[in-house]
Structure formats: structure tokens, C-alpha cells
């Protein structure tokens, strides 16, 4: 069977088809709300974030210090053994410079780009990263391997959420580097 000789389904529509009412449409805006039980591990994680601290869990069998904390070790398949505070500093494992928002809308010309990153947190097992944002740094100066520190909300503004950390900033002021040729961020 050769696809070239078959009549294929699928009729493409253009925006003008909708504007000129050539096509009828129906709309529905779902109203679905959820209140997820955080449970023991994440409950404690969020409570500690409110206090300006990051907490992890330890498995005595594989000796990993795990972040985000979890009450069971997914590799040894047994309950984890103890809590352990880790630092609020870390190393950038990878990053991106984002000019689009979550809903694909573009960031305005005056809005700074967002800088999501995976940050390996000091004190946890090597490679234990969390996703968060970078701030107080020029996009052209961000590098993989850069050391960063958390910038926290004021204690009275914290609610027990991952956003109690505003962002991570470089530990040393970034020396202005010449951006590599062609590397437009």
C-alpha cells in the first residue's frame, strides 16, 4: 500500500474559517479543583521551607540523601530512615533562558526572560537536583557548574511552598564575560 495513492482523512482548518463562521464550535471551561494531601514527606518539606530550611530524607541501605524528601526509598523499596537538613546552596546542572510563558504566550519586550534551572543541592547525594529559577544574574553569564545560593522570601511572606525560595543567585558576582560569538540568548 502506497500512501501516495490513498485518500487520507483530516481536513485542515484556518483561522479565517472560524472568523467567517464556516465552522461551528462549542466551548467549555472546566472548573476542576484539587486539594492534594501532601502527606508526611512533602508536608515536612513545605513546613521547613516556611522556616527557611531545606530538608531531605536518608536511606541507610543505599546511603542516599534524597531530595525532595520521600518516606520510602524507590530503589531499595523500603521506608527511609531519617531526616537530614541540607544546604540552601548548590550547583547549576543545567539551565534555560525562557522567553515564553507556560501558556505559550510571549514575554513582553520589557519583561526579563525567565531562567529555569536544575540545581544540585549541596549536602544531598551528588546529582540530587531540584527544578527552580535563577535570578540576579545576566542570562549571558549563566553557566553549567555555577555555584548558587537561595534567595528566600521574607519570613512573614512565606506560606510553606516551593516559592518561599524566590530564586537562586550566583554566590560570587558574575564577572562580565564576552558572550561567545553567535550565542544569542
Amino acid at each position: 500500500m502506497d500512501l501516495d495513492t490513498c485518500e487520507l482523512g483530516g481536513t485542515p482548518l484556518k483561522s479565517s474559517d472560524f472568523e467567517k463562521c464556516k465552522v461551528l464550535t462549542t466551548e467549555w471551561k472546566p472548573n476542576l479543583g484539587y486539594a492534594w494531601d501532601n502527606g508526611v514527606a512533602i508536608g515536612r518539606y513545605l513546613a521547613e521551607l516556611k522556616e527557611g530550611r531545606i530538608i531531605a530524607r536518608v536511606c541507610h541501605e543505599c546511603h542516599r540523601i534524597m531530595l525532595p524528601p520521600r518516606m520510602f526509598c524507590e530503589l531499595c523499596f523500603r521506608p527511609t530512615d531519617e531526616w537530614a537538613y541540607v544546604e540552601d546552596t548548590g550547583v547549576v546542572n543545567t539551565f534555560s533562558i525562557a522567553r515564553v510563558n507556560w501558556d505559550a504566550s510571549r514575554r513582553g519586550p520589557k519583561e526579563p526572560p525567565l531562567m529555569p534551572a536544575v540545581i544540585e543541592i549541596d549536602g544531598a547525594t551528588k546529582g540530587m537536583g531540584i527544578m527552580h529559577m535563577l535570578g540576579e544574574v545576566d542570562p549571558d553569564d549563566v553557566t553549567i557548574g555555577m555555584k548558587v545560593r537561595a534567595v528566600w522570601k521574607k519570613p512573614e511572606d512565606r506560606t510553606g511552598a516551593i516559592t518561599d525560595i524566590l530564586y537562586f543567585k550566583p554566590i560570587r558576582a558574575a564577572a562580565p564575560k564576552k558572550a561567545a560569538a553567535g550565542r544569542k540568548r
Partner: protein, 383 residues
């Protein structure tokens, strides 16, 4: 060549109206850890993993992302079946029968308490063009069906209420159940009218909980346990999703799924050979409608069997001795999980106060709820 597949381990957290102390991960880990200990096998040795889950019930997209860690499936062959646990069980059965997998673990859970507006969620499953704009409560579909069923079989609403009374009383003996109670027919008929003839107490309230089961091929099953519970028959069927095309009186999906399962199990006379059954009673009338579709009663006869005591704990064919959904709680995709759990405990002789004496063959049947016409059947034995 694989000839049989058996259940070698099962674990559960039990079922409660809310479970605020644990996250879904922690809840599922408990059921999985218990199941693997029960089976005497670690997840690193298990060949495949299946979770029965629907995105919108979880509240995030791509439900299978968040399943591996708590069932020990990291870097293992894992899939989601957006369907009932029994459909996932059927997939696990097929995986083992191919000869490529020796063992498969199946997981399902409900955290329905975390959904703020569950009726709106149920309504979100309706056809967006033809049905949703009517903005009816989703229970209205069950109300329509109940009216037609009652008309075709000369069953009364009071008789349907007796299902609620029986099942909630049964649940009093079940430590896993969330909604055991001693109530009367009058309590049901006096409860708030939802979508007549359905009253509030005719509708199973939702509950939270998790179940994990481990399947193994015949040889492996016998090596792991003295009492594997064998899967003798399986059937699943989807009738038209279009409401406007439905036969409202008969649960055809259940009849066809049962025919497939009976054929596979070599059962020609269901009413004679099935010792006990856990069948879907998400709405009170469904237990009766399903009994007839499963040929455990003739058309129109289900209510009479109920009233005669034939389906009570001490009767000829006890139905929903666990309490069913009405007594245990409605568990969405984990509905079949609870029914399989009950069958396994009964067939192993581990059902405690609700143990039915001398059982060998049990049947579990599920329906996926409004607005679907999808159901599945599993027949298990200890022989």
C-alpha cells in the same frame, strides 16, 4: 508454554472517606510493600508493572509519570491502563501468557477525596457537543437507566433500596470498609432526592485507598505460594459511548464481558457454578441489573432473589459480602481492585468475620461508571 496465571500476592491500605495523613505516593507504597511481602518477591524481580489510572482523577497529566517510584518500577517495563483495575489485570494476564513475562504487578488507587468538585469531574467525561451543554448532574444518566430497568423488570425503587441495606450491613463486618452502617429501606427512600428515582443513599459515596496485586505464571506461582488464586476467566467489553444509542434497560457490556469470561473458564451454568460474587453496585439498582446481565438471575428475577435472601451472606450465592461500593466506598479505577482483593481473601480463607464457607469459584464484575458503557469480569478459583 504458559497455561495458567495466578495471583500470588495482594496488599491494601484499606479504604477510608479521607486520607489526609498520607500522600498518594505514601498510600500506594504501603499497598505495594504489603503485596510484595505477601508474594515473597521483590519488585526488582518482577517483570512488568501496570497502573490503572485516569489523569483527571489524579489532577495531573500523564498519570504514569508518577507511578514507578512507589511500586518499585524504576527502569522497569511499566504502563498505564486508563481503565478499571480488572482491565489492567487482563493486560497483565496477556503479558504473562505471551511467555515474555513471568510476573506482573498491578496497582490502582483512589484519592477521590482530593477532588474538590467530583460531580463536575464526572460531567467532564460527557460528550462536549451533545450532552455537556445540558448541564445535568451526571447522576441523571443513572437515573434514566434506573427508571428504564425498573420498568422493564417490574422492579421497584424500594427493592433497589434493599440492596443498600444489605450491602451497608455487610460492610459492618469488613474492617476495610468506609461506610458500613445499619440502616433501613425507609432511610434510603427518605434520603435527599438526587435524580429520581435515585436518592442520596442509593449512590455509593467515594473513598480513598490503594491495592496492589502480583500475578505469576503457573510454574512461578506454585514456587512462590501454596495457594495461588488462579485466573480462570476474563472478559471486558465497551458498548456505545453515545448515550442516544443506548439500550437503557440492559447492561449489555456486562452480559458480553461475562459471556467472554464464562467461555474462557468453561462455565456453562453460571448460577450453578459461581459460589459468590462481587459485582458493581455503584448505584443500588446496578447490583440487580448486573446480576441479570451476568446470568446469575433471570431477567426480572434479581429483586426476588435479593428479597428471598439468596444473595445474603448466608444465601446460595452471596453477593457483595464485602459491602460492595455502597458499603466500602466507590473507588473509581480501583473498583475492580477492591473486588479482586475480596475474592482473593475469600478464596484463601482469609476473610475473617465475613468468610463464606467452602468457596472455590468467585466472580468480580465492574462498570466504569457514567457516562460509560464499559465493564469487565474476572473469574478466580483456588482449585
Amino acid at each position: 508454554m504458559v497455561k495458567r496465571v495466578g495471583i500470588v500476592g495482594i496488599g491494601t491500605t484499606g479504604f477510608r472517606p479521607i486520607t489526609p495523613d498520607v500522600s498518594y505516593r505514601e498510600m500506594i507504597f504501603e499497598a505495594a510493600r504489603k503485596a510484595y511481602t505477601d508474594a515473597g518477591i521483590e519488585p526488582s524481580e518482577i517483570g512488568g508493572f501496570i497502573t490503572a489510572a485516569e489523569d483527571f482523577l489524579e489532577g495531573y497529566s500523564i498519570a504514569d509519570e508518577y507511578c514507578p517510584d512507589q511500586i518499585g518500577a524504576v527502569l522497569k517495563p511499566t504502563q498505564t491502563i486508563p481503565g478499571d483495575f480488572i482491565q489492567a489485570l487482563a493486560t497483565g494476564y496477556m503479558m504473562i501468557m505471551t511467555g515474555a513475562f513471568k510476573t506482573v504487578a498491578i496497582e490502582a488507587h483512589s484519592k477521590a477525596s482530593n477532588v474538590k468538585n467530583i460531580d463536575e469531574l464526572m460531567g467532564f467525561a460527557f460528550d462536549p457537543v451533545y450532552n455537556r451543554p445540558l448541564r445535568e448532574t451526571p447522576h441523571a444518566i443513572a437515573g434514566l437507566e434506573m427508571t428504564r430497568y425498573m420498568f422493564e423488570t417490574c422492579t421497584s425503587a424500594e427493592q433497589c433500596a434493599k440492596v443498600v441495606v444489605k450491602n451497608k450491613a455487610n460492610a459492618m463486618r469488613n474492617p476495610y470498609a468506609a461506610f458500613g452502617a445499619e440502616i433501613s429501606e425507609r432511610d434510603v427512600m427518605n434520603s435527599e432526592a438526587i435524580s429520581l428515582p435515585l436518592h442520596r443513599l442509593d449512590i455509593a459515596p467515594h473513598a480513598d485507598g490503594a491495592v496492589v496485586a502480583v500475578l505469576a505464571d503457573g510454574e512461578t506461582a506454585l514456587a512462590l505460594t501454596d495457594m495461588p488464586i488462579w485466573i480462570e476467566g476474563l472478559g471486558w467489553c465497551t458498548d456505545t459511548p453515545t448515550l442516544e444509542m443506548r439500550d437503557w434497560g440492559e447492561a449489555a457490556y456486562a452480559r458480553i464481558a461475562a459471556e467472554m469470561a464464562y467461555k474462557m473458564a468453561g462455565i456453562a451454568n453460571p448460577a450453578g457454578m459461581i459460589d459468590f460474587a462481587e459485582i458493581c453496585d455503584e448505584y443500588s439498582y446496578k447490583e440487580l441489573q448486573h446480576m441479570e446481565a451476568l446470568k446469575l438471575a433471570r431477567p426480572g428475577e434479581a429483586a426476588h432473589l435479593l428479597e428471598s435472601g439468596a444473595t445474603s451472606f448466608a444465601g446460595d450465592i452471596p453477593i457483595n459480602v464485602s459491602g460492595g461500593a455502597l458499603g466500602v466506598g466507590h473507588l473509581f479505577e480501583a473498583s475492580g481492585a477492591h473486588k479482586i482483593l475480596e475474592l482473593v481473601e475469600q478464596l484463601r480463607g482469609e476473610a475473617g468475620a465475613r468468610q463464606i464457607p467452602d468457596v472455590n469459584i468467585g466472580l468480580a464484575q465492574v462498570w466504569r461508571g457514567v457516562p460509560t458503557a464499559t465493564g469487565a469480569v474476572a473469574i478466580l478459583s483456588n482449585m
